[in-house]
Symmetry: C2
Subunit: 322 residues, 2 copies
DNA sequence: TTGTACGCGTTATCAA
DNA sequence: TTGATAACGCGTACAA
């Protein structure tokens, strides 16, 4: 459309003067300043950001890479975008569906200077591949990761899980069944550690009950509720890896005419929106602050400044299922 | 980093030949083609997309503008990003919080050529302002809108609402209370039209019961459930503008020891994830297809081609609350 | 089939 | 305080 040259002509100055006025750099006489401003007003001028990005070698744009869009990811995304916008950055979204090729396209976007940095929610490719892209720009992860050049804003789930376990204990439950997620995830390992320590601390036998593994969906939770009715050694409480499985458990139990927490208690994890609807006790953690920290780390690296990170804490939300 | 010139030097050809090889334009001898490819491999070359965008005058990037991130918006976003990615576009997210200034920043991004087009989920500014930006690039809306240059992928809620009303009627409910959303929204007007026609068709008195207006949240729904218990003229069914208020109604009713649908039936709208957990009867509509259509319209305008749109249909999901 | 030269719209350096 | 000029990296018209 209209460019800096045209408004220079119109104002009777050189393009460089226009640039100076618009960016507030260098000295410009009041008179010319006024004329430039007037001209750019009249011509409906807007700087072409592609040219600016090319010149500056930076886009002030960050790529956010997520496998999909469940409520947790959505919260992270919302928090991240808000923080980024407040800091003068915009966010381009890459949804991978855990497909390695799609994920790689996002990494390539960094290499191609489409974005200045990447925030990875959860990734599918090998860590070594991710790391190999760190030389093109800052990369941070939400997922727990141990890598020199890939900082992570994860929270140690050990603490959150322990909070849930201790809560169940204090409510009198002694036969607690763990509903774990994917055992290959470090978060799950932390949870298992927490349970072991918990049992040791209270003199419980951690092998008394059978636990569940690789559980993540509502359907999984529903299945567990049905299994409970036929189980010979029934737990008096379940603690789940996320609210989806916990909610499935609660919902199906109620359909079966069981009472929660009369027949068994349920403690979830994540404090998703529907947890409130089901009166589900759960563990809350500040996803939006995690996202804010992720942005702060990225921004710190891009602008080479030291930005403070917010401390993160788990928080028990007690409702009616315990 | 490394640019087209360097790899030209390395391959012993001119920059234009490199460009031709990389873009598959024009004739290049097999020999030089190989050398160029080899050189760009060795030097880890990646075209700078800012330069390409500047040169082409287009970014292949679309802005998605949403007030926030509830589940409906999340679905639209997911569908839109997937469609865009499949079409070779990327999506930059603008979250406005219904703040007019923030929203305007997204519009400005179009003017500044940061994006080629905009998809507006729901907007806060006057339609006339939105329209004034249409000259900078295609703009489509999810929200129902009547404007010459702003196509919309809305679905006429009249049909969906009627589906719910007829369903309730067929299940024997005759005292149906409407739980409307914001009366300033065209969707709500459509719903009121549907109810009027529904009453006329079945010889019901549309003024027999008091209806609710400006209802949108879980808390609103909970409040309505409590009001029901004290109401002199009790409805035997509620039909809500969205699943949030419907879910609040159901959840609070159950807390109060009421039976749904024993005491009253509830039909929601949107078929959000938690509807299944609460066994809520609701109206489903294909948000992802709407998003796909939104992208198709945008792409059609950008590339000046005719793209087919998927037909959209409402669908009753009967569960246990009716 | 290939190379030269210019332009996309900015910003920054330098000399005046 | 100002303007000419170069440079960011690429694509392409044109000439050869």
């Amino acid at each position: 459309m209209t460019n800096i040259k045209e408004i220079a002509a119109r104002a009777g100055v050189s393009p460089s003067t226009v640039s100076r006025v618009l960016n507030g750099n260098g000295y410009v006489s009041e008179d010319k300043k006024r004329r430039v401003l007037a001209a750019s007003e009249e011509l409906d001028y807007a700087p072409n950001l592609n040219a600016v990005s090319l010149k500056r070698g930076a886009t002030r744009r960050i790529g956010l890479v997520a496998p999909m869009f469940d409520e947790s990811v959505q919260r992270f995304t919302g928090g991240f975008v808000r923080a980024a916008q407040a800091g003068g950055y915009s966010v381009t979204l890459f949804i991978t569906g855990m497909d390695r090729v799609r994920e790689r396209e996002a990494l390539e976007a960094l290499r191609h200077k489409q974005v200045d940095a990447l925030a990875l929610v959860i990734f599918a490719n090998d860590l070594s591949l991710i790391e190999s892209y760190a030389k093109y720009g800052p990369i941070v992860a939400w997922q727990r990761v141990v890598a020199e050049h890939i900082p992570s804003v994860f929270m140690n789930q050990y603490d959150g899980y322990m909070l849930g376990l201790e809560h169940l204990y204090s409510r009198g439950y002694r036969r607690i069944c763990n509903v774990y997620g994917s055992t290959s995830r470090l978060n799950t390992v932390s949870r298992m550690d927490a349970y072991r320590d918990f049992c040791a601390a209270h003199g419980l036998d951690e092998h008394e009950l059978e636990h569940f593994y690789e559980i993540s969906t509502i359907e999984d939770g529903e299945r567990i509720a049905r299994l409970w009715t036929e189980s010979p050694r029934r737990p008096d409480a379940f603690i789940a890896a996320n609210d989806y499985s916990a909610a499935g458990l609660v919902a199906e139990a109620r359909r079966l005419g069981l009472s929660v927490p009369g027949d068994f208690a349920v403690c979830g994890f994540d404090n998703l929106e529907f947890a409130r609807l089901l009166d589900l006790t759960t563990i809350h953690y500040p996803v939006d602050l995690q996202a804010g920290n992720a942005f702060a780390i990225i921004r710190g690296r891009i602008e080479d400044i030291e930005l403070p990170l917010r401390p993160l804490q788990f928080h028990l939300v007690q409702r009616a299922t315990t």
